[in-house]
Amino acid sequence: MPTPRHHLNRQRRRQALADQPAAAKAHAPVGLLPEPDSRPGSGPDSRTGPRPGRRPAAKPVREATEVPAEEATDDRPAAPKAPKARRRGLAPLVVLCVLTLLLGGFAGWAHSRAGELRDDPARGNTALTDLARTSEIKGQTTAAVAALFSYDHADTGPFERAGRTLLTGKAVEQHRTLFAGVLAQAARQKTVITTTVTDSAVERIDGDRARVLVYADQSSVSTAGTRRTGGKQQSKAQDQGVYAGAMFALDVVRRDGRWLVENIDTFGR
């Protein structure tokens, strides 16, 4: 580490300079402030002159161990000021410590700022920002809704399969409750329900969870029971079916690459 050593030497030199006038005055009362280097005699004087009793041996020992080469070329004595030099020797250490604290402080602050930004709920929600995932969820949800909410009394296979494969958690029970009334009479009324998603939007995507708002059209046709309502009305219903617009929100969760419905929110209806 050359830097601190030079630093020390420079400080010693400055110290010697500062001591110079006192010694110089003794020899040259003119009061001329001389350049120490230009006066060969001033060196030795200042070394012994101003503070003779001050650990004279300390200097040589240190120079010998530290910078023997410089000692040879440096004719200035740099009178050793033990406490000051030691205090100044601490200066780089103090500077480094302060620097460490400042940098560490900045790092901590930047870390917390970055964390704050990342924890922003807007950023946690990747709906629309992750277009691929958004359309994947929309696509799978649309297909799932069509399968889960369509029912054909003549072929209940797809409906039952959808219920087994596309639902998870409490959605299983919710789906069963929603269809309980229909299923009770389905066979007798020969019900056919067709559900089509007309609009959907992903409200929120948080990793493997998402919430989708769905608008769907439901047409239901009862192909039996002319007795039920009878007459022209029934035949009209048969032709056009009964349309109803539905809106609900689905919580979906990703399992093995597929999005399963975990919760059906019908907004209290």
Partner: protein, 180 residues
């Protein structure tokens, strides 16, 4: 006599340690600073923020346009007008007179609650967005009978002067035909 020697010799390992610590702190600071910069200049974050602003403004506007008290028609319609822009705004301004008299005659109080809402499309640069808002509208008639109706709203937003406002609003059609 050897005190100074010890002091300066003892300084050197300390300095070395301090230097290492400073460098480590410097590296740490550079890393965290970069991460902070990246977080602050994340495009998708700005887009997400825009999406949430559009949604919040859109939900509020849709709710405003489904809220009206016959006792304070003017305030209500003023709010309608400040929530909208473009073609929708023009329609509201044009039909204001007629609408005011209708509402005053019917003496109804209409309130709305947003059940859920989501943005379907967002063009950040053009300042246009589309959203779905599931709405529950309560209409209270003069005989204080109230009816609740759910509405499937489709809204179109346009950003004007940095503010998202409704430029189009309608209900999702049922069965392929538009329903009131």
């Amino acid at each position: 006599m050897t005190r100074q020697v010890r002091a300066s010799a003892g300084n050197r390992p300390a300095l070395a340690v301090a230097l290492v610590l400073t460098l480590a702190a410097g590296g740490f600071a550079a890393w965290e600073g970069r991460s902070w910069y990246a977080a602050a200049h994340d495009d998708s974050a700005a887009y997400a923020a825009q999406r949430d602003r559009a949604l919040a403004a859109g939900e509020q506007a849709v709710q405003n346009l489904n809220t009206l008290d016959h006792r304070r028609v003017d305030q209500g319609l003023d709010l309608w007008e400040t929530s909208t822009t473009g073609e929708l705004h023009k329609q509201l301004v044009d039909g204001r007179q007629e609408f005011t008299s209708q509402v005053k005659a019917a003496k109804t109080v209409t309130t709305a609650r947003v059940l859920s809402g989501a943005v379907t499309e967002l063009d950040d640069r053009a300042g246009r967005a589309r959203l779905l808002v599931a709405l529950r509208v309560t209409v209270t008639a003069p005989d204080s009978k109230s009816t609740e109706k759910d509405s499937r709203m489709l809204g179109e937003l346009t950003r004007t002067d940095g503010q998202w406002k409704l430029s189009g609003l309608g209900q999702a059609p049922v069965g392929g035909t538009a329903a009131g």
